[in-house]
């Protein structure tokens, strides 16, 4: 079976000018990244700030143009799409952003925010669209009587639900969720995580879940890739990766998570960047579990 999304040797370089007379410096934010996601799967891309996980997500949607590599969605080469074809393709691949405060237009009513993608993609007549918006509100657990409210009249968790309703408006098959709960309070995070899991089951969604919270990733992802300085250093089924991390960076990262149980003794592993070869290719360490060691 062809995977729903396939990313091959993706590279994104940013150039920064160093002044008039010196050559610009080049930063490789994404450094030859490959992975694939099967339909209905939740794939976690984890890493710390600067690891390139967000850039990878945006390159897939071509919100920023990758420097090199291949992105295949349902077998088709996304990077070869014309602008018009790309716009059409985005109906099927949507993104939910981290910050529910800055990602919603404060001057639009919640109902209009959710309806906007339907208008842009010329879906249905006005009445049908309004009915669809009300349906989406119910789907994500919002009160359809609050359609006319503005974003600031909702709490953070509710705003994230609005962002989710908007992303789901066009029935996408792939949802890229970029840190969708990290700006929310713990108790509200749990509600949104439950909602994401429910929606996946009901709508047969495929998730690319970009996150730094390993507890969360372990809870909801089927497979995980760990990014470090632009490269995937380890990838595999969640269970196997968490049970037997093979890469020194993964080990350090896992050991750094504070465990909410004072009875568990701490064993911190500190990463020594000299302890591994950053150019080592991924190799299989157990079934489906690869590490760059």
């Amino acid at each position: 079976m062809t995977p729903l999304l396939e990313v091959r040797n993706l590279v994104k370089e940013f150039t920064r000018s160093q002044g008039l007379f010196s050559a610009p410096s080049v930063v490789r934010a994404v450094d030859v990244v490959s992975f694939s996601i099967a339909e209905g799967e939740t794939f976690g891309l984890v890493g710390e700030s600067g690891s390139g996980k967000t850039t990878t997500g945006r390159c897939i949607l071509r919100l920023i143009e990758p420097t090199a590599g291949e992105v295949r969605f349902k077998g088709e080469d996304v990077l070869a799409f014309s602008r018009a074809r790309m716009r059409a393709a985005r109906r099927d691949m949507q993104i939910v952003f981290q910050d529910p405060y800055s990602s919603l237009n404060p001057r639009m009513r919640a109902g209009d925010i959710v309806e906007e993608p339907l208008i842009i993609h010329r879906t249905g007549r006005k009445v049908e669209r309004r009915a669809r918006v009300a349906e989406l509100f119910e789907l994500v657990g919002l009160d359809p009587t609050q359609l006319a409210r503005y974003p600031h009249q909702f709490s953070g968790g509710q705003r994230q639900r609005i962002g989710l309703a908007r992303a789901l408006a066009l029935n996408p098959s792939l949802v890229i969720a970029d840190e969708p709960v990290s700006a929310l309070d713990v108790s509200v995070q749990a509600q949104v995580i439950n909602l994401l899991m429910d929606l996946q089951e009901r709508l047969k969604l495929t998730y690319l879940f970009i996150a730094h919270d390993l507890r969360l990733v372990r809870h909801i992802c089927d497979r995980v890739a760990v990014m470090y300085l632009g490269k995937i250093v380890e990838t595999g089924p969640t269970e196997s990766l968490f049970a037997a991390p093979a890469h020194p960076y993964t080990r350090a990262l896992l050991s750094a998570i504070p465990i909410p149980d004072p009875a568990v003794p701490r064993q911190r592993i500190v990463l020594d960047p000299a302890s591994f070869d950053r150019t080592a290719p991924l190799r299989e360490v157990s079934s489906g579990h690869h590490a760059a060691v």
Partner: protein
């Protein structure tokens, strides 16, 4: 651990904001204490009043905010009655405050060294001659590599973790006896967080600090705390030694927070708390958690519960555990709900 005489005792603190329609409390009748060598964690979500509690202790609550009631006894002095001049001598020198975002707490136009030296000189801890070397020593004490070079760096030249270390170095410059750290690792990556927590623990042991750590992360609590105070909507709803709290959380809110942390069998639903934190000024008349509480019953919406004391430093404000009714301290003014 034997209880020493507390270094800081907060009694019946109520702090709030004066708005057009009246006084809106953000911290309601909060009492706790911290001793030297002791770590008290205050956990809560946004709007729980944990940061306003910290600012109240430092007397940094600015109008329209004001401390309405209570006593804050530090080293035998009531901080709410000392003069602003005396308070300035205490701030920084005896009580240090570490903020969440080191970039906003540091001045971008001065080097790290300048800023530490200034702190030292203002509090008479060093002279113009001795300050530079002391600044380097302090950076070394918080494990910043090559301190003699870093001392000449501006804040933007340091990484987030190094900046937080520099800030900690600055706050320790005058050897304070109490450190208040308000979400000191929230803006940092998890591996850097682990290093900063280790540093705080290490410094606390070496210097015998009393540490008041404010966080929303129960993982951080489990690693750092000796005792824990759980805040919700301005009140401490549960207080306990850390092991007791995690072994047997008594308040439904504490249980909800623990259930909200991803864990257990992958893919299973989390035991989330329904609803959201009530906005300031729109607290329900009874227990503020009642509208979200899965275990609420008859008395809960009527009046806020008082503290049921379990002994051994454990207390909880919940009708499930006792009939105590708390007299209304500052009646929440009716404010339009947004």
């Amino acid at each position: 651990m034997p209880e020493r005489a507390p270094l800081l005792t907060v009694e019946h603190l109520t702090t709030g904001f004066q708005v057009r329609d009246g006084f809106v409390p953000a911290v309601i009748d909060v009492s706790f204490h911290v001793s030297a060598g002791d770590t008290l964690c205050i956990v809560g979500e946004s709007g729980s009043g944990k940061s306003v509690t910290a600012l109240s202790i430092m007397r940094l609550v600015e109008p329209p905010g004001r401390i309405a009631e209570g006593r804050i006894i530090f080293n035998g002095h009531d901080l709410l009655t000392v003069s602003e001049r005396e308070m300035q001598a205490i701030r920084g020198a005896q009580i240090a405050l570490i903020f969440q975002e080191p970039m906003t707490a540091l001045n971008p136009v001065f080097t790290i060294g300048n800023q530490i030296e200034e702190t030292l000189r203002v509090h008479g801890r060093a002279t113009r001659r001795t300050a530079p070397q002391q600044a380097i020593d302090l950076l070394a004490a918080v494990s910043i590599p090559e301190p003699q070079k870093r001392v000449r760096d501006y804040p933007h030249q340091l990484s987030g973790g190094m900046r937080q270390r520099a800030l900690i170095a600055m706050s320790l410059a005058c050897e304070p006896s109490l450190v208040i750290a308000d979400e000191p690792t929230t803006a940092l990556d998890v591996t850097i967080q682990a290093q900063i927590l280790e540093l705080l623990r290490d410094l606390q042991q070496r210097m015998g600090l009393a540490l008041l750590l404010i966080t929303h992360d129960l993982g951080v609590v489990a690693e750092m705390a000796d005792r824990v105070a759980v805040m919700y909507a301005g009140r401490i709803v549960e207080e306990a030694p850390v092991r007791a709290l995690f072994d047997d959380p008594k308040h439904p809110y504490t249980r909800g927070l623990m259930g909200s942390i991803p864990g257990g069998a992958p893919g299973t639903r989390l035991r989330a708390i329904q609803g959201t934190v009530p906005p300031l000024g729109a607290l329900p008349p009874g227990c503020a958690f009642a509208p979200r509480c899965p275990e609420r019953f008859d008395p809960c919406p009527k009046a806020p519960p008082g503290t049921t004391d379990f002994g051994g430093g454990r207390g909880v404000k919940c009708y499930l555990h006792g009939p105590a009714v708390e007299p209304q301290v500052a009646p929440p003014a009716p404010v339009e709900r947004v």
